[in-house]
Symmetry: C2
């Protein structure tokens, strides 16, 4: 068992990696995600692509450990999804179908949980068995790793970090329908929302005025010493840091990994989160380390590969 | 492998159960916890008691699966505690010492996590593999069961449900040093605190006036139709229900079990918690079932026994 595949199925592209079982990434490529006709072509397309790669590399089928797959939806322990927001699938037995298509062993997980597993295996959480990963992108995703395995839960919906309620006074709604979700404050769109609210509150001078507001613009202004930007980042940090303190009290991680587009702001971001984390963390968790994710877009294929090992 | 022991070490007594490995409780008894001299006698006392029981029952050593032990302190995966609040122990390799004392296989866990495991095995969570148990006693304890195992975490401090911050405006301090911990609102002492605050706020008529306030008195008054008691229970329910909604978003349990002295109020309590849970639960968790614990004080010995199986 020398090789395995990691497959990260997204709404636009499917990212695929060929790995050695020790973690070496030998090759990676992408194919289009064909979501038309209820996404019926997606798994056959992936299976065909894997078959071609095996032939191209002259790999013997007996040396393949199998295929791990990350899916942007809750996935239960049997590799079944009930519904997907952007693949076209309704109920689908992903593991069984893919095993039938390829004749290989298949494991399936939620993409955010799988990305967390990737950071544990080959990235910022290397060597740890208990870890939280928070992905700050358009939304807030994440995964909790317990004893080296993603926390999947009873319905495959574990690790929905973005939907922790962090503000019971909030009047705006989150995409999930609730009010006060972490995602409303700590995602790229959430930071933009905080920034617009702050800028409208008064006329305080800021580098942000007159430019298009984005999470990147806020962190760039912060780095240039802008006081209003700092207030916005403090607010972001307090919501995220406090949420992580609660999460740590329950899951007791060795390390908290921050990834996603917002994390490109760099180390400066961690300080604002850690400050509020320490303020509310249970004493046993005060020293929990915060680090930036290191795998970027490869976290998904890495974690998917690890799923099967 | 027909039998095993479950040992629940508390600050005053050690509860011990002899189980068949199918879960049948054959015998249970208690011994005193001798905490003097840094608790040096505790493990030898337990070992001696187990030895006597084996002789008394005429059990062959080869048919013993081993000994599971619950400890009122964080315990890591190797069965090591760093410190205990009420046993006298500092650093102690509990598993190794007990294995040397008895010659049997030993597993050690935190008592709250172990009690949750007991309810999963033989109590209110029977048949489930993903479960939260909250114990509402003098404090608020609890355990999270993931894939049939307690969530222990990196430092053995997983499942500290009582120290989730649920109120960032709180000015009173929790025993842990933080402010706004769930324990300050949902424990027996927390409910008493809420009741005293409510009664002092105005002169509204209440059955609670003139009697000694306790969690039991509040729930008794509620059952008698007292409006002030209902307000207090609503407040309790909102903190606990909202906290469970956040916990469920991350751990996705099949069932949430409520135990401890406060839960003796009965089914009426669950309604007030579920109402606020549903208000803030992530959509995938809205239907999570709430049930009362069924094992009472036996949860600890049951879960300890399950630890070794």
């Amino acid at each position: 068992m020398e090789y395995c595949f990691g497959v990260d199925i997204g709404g636009t592209t499917v990212k695929i990696g060929l790995f050695k079982t020790d973690g070496e990434l030998l090759d990676k490529w992408e194919i289009k995600t064909r979501t038309e006709n209820k996404g019926e072509a997606i798994l056959p397309d992936v299976a065909e692509s894997l078959k071609q790669k095996i032939e191209e590399k002259g790999i013997d089928a007996s040396s393949m450990s199998g295929i791990g797959i990350g899916i942007p939806a809750p996935v239960d322990a049997k590799g079944i999804v009930q519904n997907t927001a952007n693949l076209g699938w309704g109920y689908k037995e992903v593991r069984r179908e893919m095993e039938e298509l390829t004749g290989m062993k298949v494991a399936v997980g939620n993409d955010a949980n799988v990305a967390a597993l990737g950071e544990m295996w080959l990235g910022a959480g290397k060597g740890q068995e208990n870890m939280i990963m928070v992905t700050l992108g358009t939304g807030v995703g994440g995964g909790v790793i317990v004893n080296g395995q993603p926390l999947v839960g009873a319905h495959g919906a574990g690790g929905e970090i973005g939907h922790l309620c962090v503000n019971y006074e909030e009047t705006d709604h989150c995409g999930c329908g609730n009010q006060g979700c972490l995602e409303q404050y700590a995602s790229a769109t959430g930071i933009t929302r905080l920034a617009n609210k702050r800028l409208q509150a008064d006329d305080a001078a800021s580098l942000l005025r007159g430019q298009e507001i984005s999470a990147k613009a806020v962190f760039d202004a912060l780095k240039d010493g802008d006081k209003v930007a700092e207030e916005i980042v403090e607010e972001f940090g307090s919501y995220l840091g406090h949420a992580m303190a609660n999460l740590a009290a329950v899951t007791d991680p060795a390390v908290i990994v921050i990834g996603g587009g917002v994390s490109k702001a760099g180390e400066i971001l961690l300080g604002y989160v850690e400050k509020y984390f320490k303020e509310k963390a249970f004493f046993a968790n005060k020293e929990t380390e915060f680090v930036l994710a290191t795998l970027g877009n490869d976290a998904g294929i890495c974690g998917a590969a690890k799923l099967i090992l």
